[in-house]
């Protein structure tokens, strides 16, 4: 019975993120493959890169990626190969083309606008009639001290 349970367990056990058997012997190529696979999304998972995922498809993609790299693809070519098949959905770092420019530029643009607003706030504060009346000062003192 116990044996059976163990077998059931092994069958049900998840495949494992990067497995030793998949890894390339050349450490330089393997490092490149790891770096690339961390930026590629597993198409059937919930928001995981193929590097982290336990899904069978992720494993296959990891192997495909390593094959391409071993065959002398550049990083760009290897990634494009997968994008051509699975769409830009697999890119965890969306490229800055077309509408995606909004995604990349919105925050820096907002930052500049906010700086402008902040600067004008500071300027108007400076321009405002300086100082409080003595009465107000005494009041403020009281508030701050309490």
């Amino acid at each position: 019975m116990k044996r059976l349970l163990i077998i059931v367990m092994l069958l049900a056990s998840p495949l494992w993120a990067v497995e030793p058997s998949e890894m390339l012997d050349d450490p330089v190529l393997e490092d490149r493959a790891r770096a690339l696979s961390q930026g590629l999304r597993c198409p059937v998972c919930r928001n995981e890169s193929i590097d982290e995922s336990n899904a069978i498809l992720a494993k296959e993609l990891r192997i495909v990626l390593r094959e391409r790299i071993s065959d002398g693809d550049t990083d760009r070519q290897a990634v494009d190969f997968l994008v051509a098949r699975y769409g830009e959905y697999v890119l965890l770092r969306p490229d800055a083309r077309g509408a995606n420019l909004i995604l990349w530029l919105a925050a820096p643009a907002l930052f500049l606008i906010a700086l402008g607003i902040g600067w004008s706030t500071i300027r108007t504060k400076r321009a405002a009639p300086a100082g409080l009346s003595d009465e107000e000062k005494a009041e403020l003192e009281k508030i701050l001290r309490s």
């Binding site: 163990i6 367990m9 928001n47 830009e88 925050a107 902040g118 504060k125 400076r126």
Partner: protein
Amino acid sequence: MLIELGHFALILAFGIAIVQMIVPMVGAHRGNAAWMALAEPAATVQFLLTGFAFAVLTWAFVTSDFSLQLVYLNSHTDKPMIYKITGVWGNHEGSMLLWMLILTLFGACAAWFGDGLPTRLRARVLSVQASIAVAFFAFVLFTSNPFVRLEVPPLNGRDLNPLLQDPGLAFHPPFLYLGYVGLSMSFSFAIAALIEGRVDAAWGRWVRPWTLAAWMFLTIGIALGSWWAYYELGWGGFWFWDPVENASFMPWLIAAALLHSAIVVEKREALKSWTILLAILAFGFSLLGAFIVRSGVLTSVHAFANDPARGMLILIILAVFLGGALTLFAFRAGKLEAKGVFSTVSRESGLILNNILLSVSCFVVFIGTIWPLVAEMLFDRTLSVGPPFFDAAFTPFMVAIAIALPFGSMLAWKRGTFERATKALAGWFVLAIACAALAYAIQSGNSALGPIGVALGVWVVGGALADLWIRSGRDTVVERLRRIARLPRADWGKATAHIGMGVTIFGIAAMTAWQQEDIRVADVGERWSVGQFEFQLDGVNQLQGPNYLTTMADISVWRGDRQVGDLHPEKRFYPVANMPTTEAAIINGVLRDIYVVVGDPQENGGWAVRIYLKPFANWIWGGAMLMALGGCFSLSDRRLRVGASSAKRSAKAVPAE
């Protein structure tokens, strides 16, 4: 019977919330004291009723009452008692009830501890708070009722998701909800102030403790969640930029901005409308978070049961509250004339920069989180936005904050000079650069991330220390230290929280830049080295847990001839849920974590083993805890403990603006 009583209590609380929403608000408008006074007992009763409902649900889980659908779906008789209890909020309906419990608790707290508030303001705050409760009571009762019975009770339940069977579930969600929901108080105060048309220093002082408490809880909740993910998910990541994580991070960033700008309102009566806007947005992002987690529009690793109808209702709640609040803001913000004036170089300007940087970094997280949705709806592109985007787009703003923080926090109010800060910080600047150079020289490879993180960490921590030091005046060292010890707790809070920020920055950079990884197939008895440690696989055993089966490896860790520890990483299988999990084994250390995961047996014998050395990992959460501790210090400051009631007297004299 008990179950039905719980259900009735919840319905009754809903009714009371409706009354509390309307009567005190009208009373405040008409100046009817009796109507206004209704809010306090109503808030208390609301809380007690919700507490009763929550206790009933907990009882049902503890006694495994499978006639309750929720218990059947999420529990099992074999489950250890602690997970029966935490299982109450390990699901959508139960977690909503926890949300309600905390929401009504905050409302009750405002009633219990709000003695110092002007009657009118208090009535309005409690009324707004009740309106939030009304919306969510309706949500719970109509779409997510935890008290649904099954006609034929099954013999046993379907068990809780094994990933959730962890002590992390006991603490992570309650703290997170205390934070999310705590921000509803800041929101209620903001709306009440807009209705009154008045924001003054006293208002700033009342809002701050609530915001501070919410922010603290959120900090602890996020840190606990991150730590939980670190040890539970099996590969030692601590932050994944997952939509659900972002959902908690956005309110945190805005709450941090709100905390700082409320200081300006309190001390200088400036940045009023900005503070109100942040208070509205902070709770708005909390609601957005609830929407993201519970609607399932964004795929995430840890979304709850996804249901479009629920998502729709939360979206309506979000639209009504945020839309209504912003409309009110648009009409009333002009009335909130600021009084304080300040020059370009001043603490006020520094805090404006802080607000800008925090808000924009929140916006980065926001747009990255919703972009897949927008791109699909508007541009017909199915795409993903993942960690590489956030790392690239978010980090620069954090770096800017870290660089500016020591300067800004040291500038004087109203009119400051850079000279004072520069003089005090020069030594720390040199030290930061020296540490970075040292780190660069020691590390292998030439990544800039590690050294930059080291420099920023030293800079921020040093800045906080220099700030304390400069405040001690000129005297002998001993006398200055004595003075530092006597500084108000708020100053200690500030220093501690800022040091925590520096520590976290350092931890994140160090762990990301210098972690070592080793993946291999190991035979039993094999010994291999990773970094300065040696590992030996001593054996692998099959064992049985209370409600799971496990494959447990026995791996000893050596440093030279000395044994550092014995690790037992596991692969578990939960038969009821039919789900496997990995349990990493970790030796926690100040300088590094040793993190070991065992994988599958290999065809040719041996086991897959994964080992990570994660330098300074604990500093990430340690820093977060310091931030929360800083919040504690500030919260216990004399000014906030005794200030409220004495502020009431002076508040009356403050002219309406």
